[in-house]
């Protein structure tokens, strides 16, 4: 082949490979499906379906760009485990969507491919309601799932994820939310009389015993929000009036370690409000909490006016950032904490960056006009 012919061939092949050139039309294209989620840390946002399917939307934690979703059923719950790689959702599939008997289903999915890897029918007693903390938990080894039930009598369904079978139902009368111990050998739940109930779990996931704590909180005078954060070996809760309750769940009986009335000295009647009211950043030991002023009976679900950065160790409110309209809040585990928030009363998904050199002051960096968003899980 002489050099002229060779050059022409190369040029023509280039034409074929670059169909947008004027001389050659665009070549027919192939229809494909993206094989994997774009890399990078993910933010998971649940929207519980009330008239059909719900959804877990996945956004880039870096800039809230949209990455993909996993659809579930009616009144869905979610949890993410294994370092953000495996998702779980429990939801209901009624025969006629708004009517007829439900099939409650626990689904496991691969976060990277968004493919279902398990579809297990669980007890139809499954809690119907908004997505929230403590409604669905999975053991660290991924072998067992625990699902809150409410008929409205309360119990917990234990699911073996290896066999795909329901193992048992554990009654927890008058108690609410599942807080699985770090080693998976027990879970702790909040009861209506102010005590915590600890249920010990055998290797097969069945209850082998249970014990009530002393009274840890006052459900009449200052109830606890049920959202909990894992802080070191303990669980941290917050009360309607703004008192952190640090609870040890390491033993057979839950134990109140300490309380801290962080809002007490600050004028204006500030109190926590919303549902997922706070998020903890472990590298810095800081809790970020959604606060509203002028708190009164019935304002405990008010969206935030500010988000406060509280140093738990030093017992100090470090900074009060303007951050309006958050009912749900989650915090990244970065050294420079990032706060994510949603407003389940209206719309909005928000991303705030904090500055560790400026007392963790928070600044809005990204915002998306998402509606019906509620519970969220940060990377």
């Amino acid at each position: 082949m002489d050099s002229y012919r060779k050059a022409t061939l190369v040029a023509l092949l280039a034409l074929a490979a670059q169909p947008a050139l004027a001389d050659e039309p665009i070549a027919p294209e192939t229809f494909t499906v993206e094989a994997a989620l774009k890399p990078g840390p993910n933010l998971f946002v649940a929207s519980s379906g009330w008239a059909g399917a719900g959804v877990i939307n996945i956004f880039s934690a870096a800039d809230l760009s949209y990455k993909g979703n996993y659809a579930n059923g009616f009144n869905g719950q979610m949890t993410i485990s294994a370092g953000g790689t495996v998702g779980y959702t429990a939801s209901a599939y009624p025969k006629r969507i708004m009517k007829g008997p439900i099939e409650a289903v626990l689904e496991r999915f691969d976060v990277s491919t968004l493919k279902t890897t398990r579809d297990i029918t669980i007890l139809p007693k499954f809690i119907l309601g908004q997505a929230a903390h403590g409604m669905l938990q999975v053991s660290a080894d991924g072998e067992r799932a625990y699902v809150q039930n409410a008929t409205p009598a309360t119990s917990v369904t234990v699911v073996n994820l290896k066999t795909g079978k329901v193992v048992s139902e554990i009654p927890i009368p008058g108690c609410w939310t599942i807080n699985l111990a770090k080693d998976g050998t027990r879970f702790t739940t909040l009861c209506g009389d102010g005590r915590f109930l600890t249920v010990r779990l055998g290797p097969d996931g069945r209850a082998t015993g249970q014990a009530y704590s002393e009274k840890i909180f006052d459900p009449e005078k200052d109830p606890l929000f049920t959202h909990a954060e894992r802080v070191g070996a303990d669980l941290v809760f917050v009360s309607f009036s703004g008192v952190f309750h640090r609870v040890s769940d390491a033993g057979d009986t839950a134990r109140l370690v300490s309380t801290y009335a962080f809002a007490k000295e600050i004028p204006g009647g500030w109190a926590p409000g919303g549902y997922e009211v706070m998020g903890y950043n472990a590298p810095n030991g800081i809790i970020f909490i959604a606060m509203h002023p002028g708190a009164r009976d019935g304002s405990h679900k008010n969206p935030s006016t500010e988000v406060w950065a509280v140093d738990l160790e030093r017992r100090t409110v470090l900074y009060r950032s303007m951050a309006p309209g958050l009912t749900h809040l989650a915090v990244s585990q970065d050294k420079v904490p990032v706060i994510f928030g949603t407003n389940s009363h209206g719309e909005g998904l928000f991303r705030y960056e904090t500055d560790p050199t400026a007392k963790f002051a928070a600044k809005l960096t990204h915002q998306v006009g998402l509606r019906n968003a509620s519970y969220l899980l940060a990377p």
């Binding site: 009330w50 609410w176 009363h345």
Partner: protein
């Protein structure tokens, strides 16, 4: 005549008591109802926020004290949901074709008309979609988390019905609270 009066009062008390008992039974645990008297201060300052349990949020209407289509109506002090009054029902009746919920949460609301605190039972109506143009309200006076299930307004109270789709919510007086 005092006999008649006391009989009327007894009847009222009886309904209240049996209502509380029934609720306790349904919830399968000591009902929070029995503690309500001392717990709540009543809905003195009505709060009406543009809230959302499932659908688009709606601004609360500037209803008068007696407007049961408005979120600030006194009975709605712990109501989270669509008002049945704006969907073809009333404050005590489900719209036609809906199913009455068999379990309920309660609130204690102060009636500005007689300055009494009433025990209000919020029944959901079930088995159909809501009308998205209806009035959505969320007030949470005396509302408590799920460990006080009888006071909790974040779950779907159609849970014990055959048909679990949430339609709307009514607000019945079941007795005097204090």
């Amino acid at each position: 005549m005092s006999d008649l009066l006391s009989r009327i009062i007894k009847t009222l008390d009886g309904v209240l008591e049996s209502g509380a008992r029934a609720s306790a039974r349904r919830h399968g645990r000591r009902s929070a109802l029995t503690r309500i008297g001392g717990l709540l201060v009543g809905g003195a300052a009505a709060m009406a926020l543009p809230f959302d349990r499932a659908y688009g949020a709606q601004a609360a209407g500037k209803g008068s004290e007696g407007n049961d289509k408005s979120c600030d109506y006194w009975r709605y002090c712990a109501l989270d949901g669509f008002l049945c009054t704006t969907m073809g029902g009333s404050k005590t009746s489900c719209p036609v074709g809906a199913e009455a919920s068999v379990v309920t949460w309660v609130g204690t609301c102060q009636n500005p008309g007689d300055n009494r605190s009433y025990l209000i039972s919020y029944y959901d109506c079930c088995g159909k979609t809501p009308y998205t143009g209806a009035q959505f309200c969320l007030r949470s006076e005396g509302e408590r988390p799920g460990y006080n299930m009888g006071l909790y307004n974040d779950i779907n109270w159609c849970v014990a019905n055959a048909n679990k789709g949430y339609h709307c919510t009514v607000a019945l007086v079941v007795g005097v609270a204090s």
